[in-house]
Every structure is written in C-alpha cells, then in structure tokens.
Amino acid sequence: MNNFPILSFLTFLPILGMIIVLFLPKKQELSIKVTTLVITGLQLVLSIVLLMNFNYSAGGINDPNSFQFIEKFRWIDIPGFSWIGNIKIDYFLGVDGLSTPLVLLTAIITFIATLSSWNIDKSIKGYFIMFLLLDTGMMGVFVALDFFLFYIFWELMLLPMYFLIGIWGGPRKEYAAIKFFLYTLFGSIFILLVMIGLYFSSMETLVDGTKVFTFNLLTIMDPNNYTPYGILSPLNPNNLRLIAYIALFIGFAIKIPMFPFHTWLPDAHVEAPTAISVILAGVLLKMGTYGILRVSYPIFPEITMSLSWFIALFGMINIIYGALAAMAQKDFKKLIAYSSISHMGYVLLGMSALNTMGISGAILQMFNHGTITAMLFLIVGVIYDRAHTRDLDAFGGLGVQMPAYTGFVTIAFFAAIGLPGLSGFISEALVFLGAFGSGTTRILGIISTLGILLGAAYMLWTLQRVFLGKLNEKWKSLPDLTAREYFMLVPLTAIVIFLGVYPTPMLDLMNASVNSMVKFINNAQVFYSSLNSF
C-alpha cells in the first residue's frame, strides 16, 4: 500500500480514460459513457481506499513528514549556477486532513456528474474528453504540494471548463464561457506572479548542501528557508509580502467567488449544463478556499493574522449579499448560484477565525456545501429537463405531481438552510462558534447570523413557489424521478443525512491537520513578529 502511487492513479486515471475515449469511434456513444463512468467509478473506489488507509493522527499542513501517500521525485532538474539556470521542480503529491476530504468530494461529485451527463446529446465524445480532462485538473489541484505543479493543474481546468460551458451550455453560453475564462485567467496571473516571487525568496538545501530556489510549498512555508534578500522574504525590508498576499488572495477569491469578484458565477451556472454546474459549484468553488488554506495561510501566517478581520468581513458580505441577491432571483438556477455565494461566505468566515472550530467548520462546510449544492443543481436539472424552463413563477404545486422529487428537494433545501440533523447545520454551527470564539471576528459573526434567517426565507419561499400551492395545469404530465435520477440523488442525500447525524468520521479526518494549522499559524505569528522587531 505504501509504495503504490495511489495519488498519481487518482489524478491520472481520467487522462487514461480520455485516451481510451479518444480512440473510441464517435458512434459508440454508450461505450464512451460507460468508459467514463467506469473511470470515475474507479476513482471513487481509489479515494475510498485512500480513506481507509488514512492515518488520522498525522497533521500535515507544513510538516513534510506527516503528509501521507507522498510521491516525490525530481521532475525538472537543470544544473547550473545559483541563478535560475539551476532549476529544480518536484513532482510532489501528498495529502493531509485538509485535502483528503476534498479529494473524496471530487471523486464523489465527478462520479455523480458523469451520471447526470447521461443525457448530453451533441458531440458526446468531445464532451467526455473535456470532462475527464477537467477531472484530472481538479484532482491534481488537491493533491499537488509543489506550487508549480499546483499551478499547472489549476490552469489545466480552465480550457475544458471553457468548452464545457461554451459548447454544451445554454443560450448565452459563449458569453458565460468567455467571462468565466477571462475572470479566472485574470486571477491566475496574480497567482503566477506570487509563485515566481516566492520561488526567488526561498531556498531548499539539497543533500549535497547546495541551496537552490524551490517551488516546494512545504519548504517555502518554513520561514527559515527564506533567502535574506529574496523579493518576498520577511527579512526584506520592503512590504511586498502584504501586496503579494493580497494579489494571491484575489487570485483565489475569484474562484470562490468572493464579492465583488463573483459576477461570473451566476452566468456560468445558468448557462452550464447540469453536470457542469454540479462540478462547478461542487468542486471548483472549493479550490479558491482550498488554495487560501493550503498556500496563503501557511506561507503568509503573519499577514493572515493581521488581515483576518477583512477576510471575515468579506465572508459576512458574501453571506448576506448572496442571500439577498438570491431572494431577488426569478431563475431557479440563478437563485441556487447565489445561494452558493452565500454559503461560501460561511467558509470564508470560518477560516478567518483562525481557531480550531472555525477552520474545521470551514473545511467541513466546503465538503457539505459540495454535496448539498450538487443536490440542488441536480434538482434544478431534473425540473429543467422536464419543463424546459427555470422560471420560478411558472411552477407551483409540483408537490402533488412529483412527491418523491419534492421529498429530495425538501431535504436539500433544509440542509441548505442548516437544519439540525442535516450536514449543513454542523458546519455552519462550527463556523459561528469559531467566529464568536475569535475576538477579531466576533461582531462580524454576530451580523452574519442574519444569513441563517435570510437563507430560510428565500429557500422556503422558493419551495412554496415551486412545489406548494395549486398545481399549474401546464405540468399535469410531468413524470416523477427516473431510476437514474434516484441513483444520483440518493447517495448524496445519504451523505447529507449521515454527516448531519454523525459528523465524526469527517471531523476526525481533518482534526489533526486543523489543529496543527492553528498551532502553526499562531507560532509562526510569534516568529515573524520577532523578525520584524530587528
């Protein structure tokens, strides 16, 4: 088990599948779909194997020795002088309690998204090729521990996403696609800049004692590795670190998406096909917050500390702004999209607290939001496939017509508004506990509790507009859920309920990492302040 490169398999299985699909003839639609399904299924199995062999006591975050399933070897190794001619890049994969939940999430969501892609009708082959490529990109981001590798995977997702939205999307797909692309690229150039900046600021000591610049995130995290006059080194009297942090933050925030960089999301969601919306909201949004936790936090702990209030502020804005904006929507999918913005706000709020409860809450919320929002988008997809409209006012009384469907909807909605017994509650509660626990974010936390109320308001209102009241004659003939749709919704529902009743498995998974992160940031704070003193 220890020498089996499970993470590489997780990451590159989809590429394999892509190649297979590439050689399948266009006409073999079914076999293409099945191949994809098998591949994603295998991925899911692997991720569960990963989970079963996971060592719950290993912290990770900044300590290379407590990462698990590490695969590390020189990828680019160019000898030369001290300057960039000498460049070493590692192929460095590994997981800890922070990434494992998201790896699992990715596997689950992709598998379900494959199922929901079943009714894609035009140019199936292209679709699944892009789909699998996207899968690799997402998985890679979550397992990469080398900044360069991380960035490659990060960018790798852009193009497939562009095509998936742009070719298989709705009426204004081209607009949505380009908007998504330009926004994210705009964000990632900042990431790139900071990446290069960090590369020139931190040195890794090789076995033979020579020092070389490095992309290795864990090496960069260790403040002792900074070169005295590295452009982003804390020893450097310039205050570029702050600017770099903000740039990096913006880069990630666009993916979250954080107000005011969120306007790509509603368009992208509305235009994207259901499966893609599911992936977009279920996994892609998490990359933003994951990036912040994985990169920004441990590398710039002192700045994280000093800016936590602003992060919390944006979290609060996201929560309330998103909820209010959602309330104003007429389009079912757009409403869910805005609700995602609101829910990602909880993640931001939680991480800003910088204490155990807050960060666990944030990570848990990432996972829960992933599953819940996936359900919600599937739900929208179901109704859209049948009625071919998403206008909330066009419906009503579907509760009579499609009782089973309504059942799932009710669960999903109440999970979304944080009803106890469903997973959403625990993460939100932890987030608020965290926010209250830290003096800096307490007030913002209190204000954010409004989100609970607003969330209930727009969700129940939607529930009423679509499912309650008199049945609109137009929809007399809508069939209830098909077997496939059951197959997509039931597992998610199971997860949502299980984690709502018994979150321990998921929390144990991340406890060690969360605690070591909290410890690391607080200790690092001390270290850096000592630096600034002289």
């Binding site: 107000f259 209010l324 104003a328 155990t356 009803l419 106890p420 608020f432 506990l433 129940l460 979150p503």
Partner: protein, 692 residues
C-alpha cells in the same frame, strides 16, 4: 429497575416515534394502512412513558438521572456531547407529550379519514413526537436547539399539510421564519455559553456560574445570555412580539393544532425557560415577566372578538402561555410548570373538542354559523365545558389550582417588590379568559342553531374521537394533582414531584427575595412551597387566600358577563360594539400586528433584496461592463466592434483597443509612405527621449 433501565426506556421513547416516521413515510405509498403501525408505535411509546414516569416518581423521586455520550470532537479540549437529563419534570413532560400525541393519533384516524396524504400525515406526527421528546429529554442546550429546529420543521410540514391552499403554505413559511428570528437569538446565547464554559450541558454551566465564572466576566452578559436564550422561547411559545405566527398556524389540521400549537410544542418555550431558570438574573426575569405580561394581555383582548372557533382558542393559548412566562418571570417556578401541564390537557381537550365540532359541521369554523349544538354533540359539549371551566379557573379543576398559584405569586411579588402591575394584569386576564371562553361555549353550543342545514346533518363524532376528549377532560380534574380541592400546595404534584429551582446566578444579580440569606433557602421538597427566602414564603401564605377569592370572583363575573351578553341577551352586543367601535375593530384586527410586520420587515427585506439583485446585475457587473457599454456606443461608429465586444472585462479590453485600435486603423492605411513618415518621426522622438 435500575437507572440504566430508565435511560434505555427513555431512549426507546425517543426513537420509537422516529422509527414510526421512517417506516410510515417510506412505505406510505405502498401500504395503505401503514398508519396503523404509527398509531401502534405511539401506543407503545405512551405505555413506556407511563411506566418510566411511574418508576421515576415512585422510586427515584429525588434523583436526577444524567447520561452523556460524545458526539464528535475537534481537539483534545473541544468535544461536543449529547445526553439525557431525567428528573421529575422530564418524565411528567414525557407522559404529557406521549399521552396527548397518542390521543391525537387516535383522534386523527377518524378526523383525517379520506385525506389523500393520510399516511404522510401520521408520519409527520411521528417525527414531531420524536423531536418533542428530544427537547424534553436533553441535558444540554445544543441538543435542545437541534430538536428545537426539528419541531420547527415538523410544525412547518404539518401547518402546510394542505399545501394546495396558499394560506396554508404561507402560514407554514411564516411559522418557520418567525421562529428563526427567535432562534437566532437563542443560537447566539448558546454560542456565548459554549465559549464561556466550553460545554453545553445545563449542569456544568450552572456549576461554573455558581462558581462565579460569568460570560465576559460581567453580570450584564449573564443577563444578556439569559435574554438571548429566552428569545428562542419568544419564538416557539409565540410570545409578543413574535406571536403572529400562531393564529395563522391554525391553517393546519385541527388535531395538529391541538398537539403542537396548544399542548406541547408551544409549551417548549416555557419548558426551555424553566430549564435555564437557574442562570436568569433579576433583570432577565423582569424582561421575561414583561414579555409574558404583554403576551398574556394583548391576545386576551383579541380573543374577545374573534369569530373563528380555532382563532379564539389560538389567542387564548398565546394568552395562557404569556401567563406562564410572566409567572416564571416573577419567580413562580413550580406553578408555571403546573399550569403548563394543566393547560396542556385542557387546551388539547378544547382543541380536539373544536375539532369534533368542526368535523360534525363539515369543516365549518365560524361560530356565528353554529349554535345549539349541545343537543347534537352531548359528549363533546360536556368535555368542552369541563375544559372551559378549567381554563377559566373554576374550583375543582386543575386550572383553578395552577392559576390560583400564579396569581398568588404575582400578589406576593407585588407585596415584596411593590410592583403590582403583574398582579393587576394577571387578574384582568383571568376575567377576560372566563368571558371569552364562555362566550365561545354559549355561542357554539347554546341558543338556537343559526345554520339549520348544517345543524341537521351534525351528529356526535365516532368513539375514536370522543374517547380522547373524555380522557383529557378527566385529566382537568383537580384530583390528579392534589387531594385538597382548595389548596394544591400540599398536593404531591407541587410538594413532592416538583423540586425547588436550583439558582446559580450571582447573589447580587437576583431579586431580593431570591437571595441566599443565612439558612433561608431549602431545597427540601417535603416543605411544600418553601422556595427562596422566608419572606417569600410569608408573602405566599399571605397572598394565597385573597388571591384565590379574588380570582374566583373575577372568573365567575366573567362567566356571568358572558351569560348576560350571549345567553340571556340582557345587553345588545351589537349596540355595545357600535358604541366602542374603534376598540372593537382594533381588537378584531388583532391590533394590526400582521399589517405592521408586512409593511415593515417583510416588505423591507423583499425590497432590499430586490435592490441588491438590481445592484448586482447593474452596478457590480456594471462597473466592469460600464466600459463595455461605452464601447457599444463607440461601436456605432466602428463597424466590426459589436462582433468582437462581448462583455465584462473583455469589453474593457475591447474598449481600450477601441481607442488604440481606432488610432491604429488610421495608421495602418496600407500606404507605405505613411508608414515611413511614422518611422522617421518615431526615430526623431526617440532621439529626444534618450538624448541625455
């Protein structure tokens, strides 16, 4: 029978209804008669509850049984636990809930017959019972909150059970959201508690408070915590100013109203306040008392003029709950609980009775179309009457004792603190209660039938519906609580079963009569009513008789008035209403609370959200697109533009390139000589730039 045995049975009591819910919901479509399973489950639960109550009250009467398990943990220090706290109140409440729930189940078998979603209805009743038991059993505030929300859910589902009716779904939504308002406060309170004491359990929290550990080390925050937690009760128990949801909740099926919105769930608020009584400071209690007073008074005045039989009962419920809350606020700890239980029975009886009437009248709810029904529905009438006597506080009923106790306490409170307002309001409400209840009885059952046709077809309800009425009416008799028909203080319910409250709020923050002066406080329940200080006991003794007499007089006079108005018609009601038209309409329109809230909060939120929506579409996107819009203008002049321009940041790029591009177009004329001129010029410019 060991304590673990009690714990296990309680577990069974908790989870059986959940089982019923799951089975009934999942098999509901397949098996038509699955509801019988649910009914059976509830019967079992009921017996289990009776058994537990019996064991506890007879063998473990002085013990508090606590069991805890870890739910999840975040680190070595932070771990979240779930657990049970089983004391006498718990078992009594368990019994009340189980009993009424079971009776409602039976009642519903007939009442809900030929409803398309029959099984689902019973399933919902199941999950409600589950959540309610959870609230009753828990030993920690978090678990309380969890089940709190769950009862909210089940109430949402049951109020909106006939969701085809817009009014029904609206009512459900309203109930849930209004409750959420209160819950936010409660949630905040819980957060404060956890952050201060790093635990949710009542026990440990009280201990630390008693040990002098305060939230943010200030009395003020202790008070605030109390008030915040109490906000939850304001929502659930429909206290002023969040009482508006309860009357609307009557959209639900009548048995549901009886179970949830009269007997159990709405009482949960009071139950919560009783549980946190230990940490309440004087200020917090004052706040609670005032809220309670308002909630007792306002709905009572509204109930005077309502014509919908359920609406009248609803407002009387709010009023009675306000009564309890007020009582708690002035320290009448035991009588609050007493009244809670008593009220649960007779109000359930009243609601089921009204249900049986409505059933007989084919879903006619307006009392102005009823009358003379006592001949047609003798049993319903009899039970209804007993319950009415109970609620009005006529001797020999449970209500007489509980109410009397509360009024006496208010009297004592007045005499001790010189603050008589609660006493006055208390008596006033007693008067009004008697009046509007008898008005209801008279108009409904006495006199001549107003709607002959309906009257003809009306007939006594079947046994399954009448039996619950009889049981509940029976339980409204004093004998179940105390042997002495005139004084409950020595009765087992007050003196034996209910322990004195454990106070942990710092001494200096309490009412004087609650402070711990040397050897004053005794927690020995055998000493009947002795709680708090000696002076309090004195005051209680002194207050007892006058209060009782006064209460009785008022109740009777209220009754009398009702007879004069509606039975003997000595005074023409219409004239009177004409005379006090403004007051009448004000009361008839429920003090215009709904209108007010709709105009302010609801409209406000919706409007604001619209604004935000617009803002998001126009401004936020617009900041980026704004340039783009300019570009569109520009594109009128330059042909190829529109095609290229998309939106957002792209527009911006395109906009820039629009400007630059326009110049470029001038440049790239295709005339080689123009190019060369430019080359020469740029050389010259560079010459000047770099000539230093």
């Amino acid at each position: 029978m060991t304590e673990t045995g009690i714990i296990n049975i309680s577990l069974a009591i908790l989870f059986l209804p959940l089982l019923g819910f799951i089975v009934t919901l999942l098999l509901g479509k397949k098996i038509k008669s699955i509801y019988l399973f649910e009914v059976f489950i509830l019967t079992v639960t009921l017996f289990a509850a009776i058994f537990v109550a019996f064991i506890k009250l007879s063998y473990y009467v002085d013990d508090r049984i606590i069991a805890e398990i870890q739910w999840f943990k975040l680190s070595e220090t932070i771990s979240i636990k779930l657990g049970f706290l089983i004391d006498n109140m718990t078992v009594i409440m368990l019994f009340v809930v189980a009993l009424i729930s079971a009776l409602v189940h039976y009642f519903s078998i007939a009442y809900m017959k030929d409803d398309p979603r029959y099984n689902r209805y019973f399933a919902y009743l199941g999950i409600f019972t589950f959540s309610m038991n959870g609230i009753v059993l828990t030993n920690n505030i978090l678990m309380m909150y969890i089940f709190w929300e769950l009862v909210g859910l089940s109430s949402y589902l049951l109020i909106g059970f006939w969701f085809e009716k817009k009014s029904a779904s609206d009512a459900g939504k309203k109930a849930f959201i209004v409750n959420r308002v209160g819950d936010i406060g409660m949630f905040a309170g819980i957060l404060i508690l956890f952050l201060t004491y790093n635990t949710f359990s009542f026990e440990s929290i009280f201990h630390s408070i008693a040990a002098g550990k305060l939230p943010f080390n200030s009395d003020f925050w202790l008070t605030m915590t109390g008030i915040l937690l109490f906000m939850g009760a304001i929502g659930k128990s429909a206290q002023f100013p969040l009482h508006v949801w309860l009357p609307d909740a009557m959209e639900g099926p009548t048995p549901v109203s009886a179970l949830i919105h009269a007997a159990t769930m709405v009482a949960a608020g009071v139950y919560l306040t009783i549980r946190i009584f230990g940490l309440l400071t004087a200020d917090a209690m004052m706040f609670i008392a005032i809220i309670g007073m308002l909630s007792a008074f306002i709905p009572a005045t509204i109930a005077l003029t309502q014509n919908d039989i359920k609406k009248v009962l609803a407002y009387s419920t709010v009023s009675q709950l306000g009564y309890m809350v007020m009582a708690l606020g002035i320290g009448a700890y035991k009588f609050t609980f007493f009244h809670l239980v008593a009220h649960a029975f007779f109000k359930a009886c009243l609601f089921l009775g009204s249900g049986s009437v409505i059933y007989a009248m084919h879903h006619e709810q307006d009392i102005r179309n009823m009358g003379g029904l006592r001949k047609k529905l003798p049993l319903t009438y009899a039970t209804f009457l007993i319950a009415t006597l109970a609620i009005s506080g006529i001797p020999l009923t449970s209500g007489f004792h509980s109410k009397d106790g509360i009024l006496a306490s208010s009297f004592a409170f007045g005499s001790l603190t010189g603050n008589w307002i609660f006493a006055i309001v208390g008596f006033l409400v007693a008067l009004m209660t008697a009046f509007y209840m008898f008005r209801l009885v008279i108009i409904t059952f006495h006199g001549q039938p107003r709607d002959q046709h309906k009257y003809e077809h009306a007939k006594e309800s079947p046994f399954v519906m009448v039996m619950p009425l009889i049981v509940l009416a029976g339980l409204s008799i004093f004998i179940f609580y105390t042997p002495n028909p005139l004084n409950a203080d020595e009765g087992w319910f007050i003196s034996k079963w209910l322990p004195a409250p454990v106070l942990s709020a710092p001494n200096n923050t309490r009412f004087d009569f609650m402070q711990e002066t040397a050897g004053a406080v005794t927690h020995n329940p055998s000493h009947g009513t002795i709680t708090y200080s000696e002076s309090y006991t004195e005051a209680m003794h002194g207050a007892h008789n006058p209060a009782m007499i006064l209460a009785l007089v008022l109740a009777l006079s209220g009754m009398l008035l009702a007879y004069i108005f509606y039975q003997w018609k000595k005074i023409n009601v219409d004239k009177l209403t004409q005379a006090i038209k403004p007051l009448y309409t004000f009361s008839l329109n429920k003090w215009y609370f709904d209108e007010l809230y709709d105009k302010t909060f609801v409209a406000g939120t919706i409007g604001f959200s619209k604004l935000i929506g617009w803002f998001d579409a126009k401004i936020v996107d617009g900041i980026i697109n704004g340039a783009g819009n300019l570009t569109r203008l520009l594109s009128v002049f330059t042909g190829a533009f529109d095609r290229i321009v998309i939106d957002g940041i792209v527009n911006f790029a395109a906009y820039l390139s629009g400007f630059i591009g326009l110049i470029f177009r001038r440049i790239q004329t295709g005339k080689v000589q123009t190019y060369l001129i430019l080359v020469i010029f740029s050389i010259i410019i560079l010459l000047f730039l770099f000539n230093d």
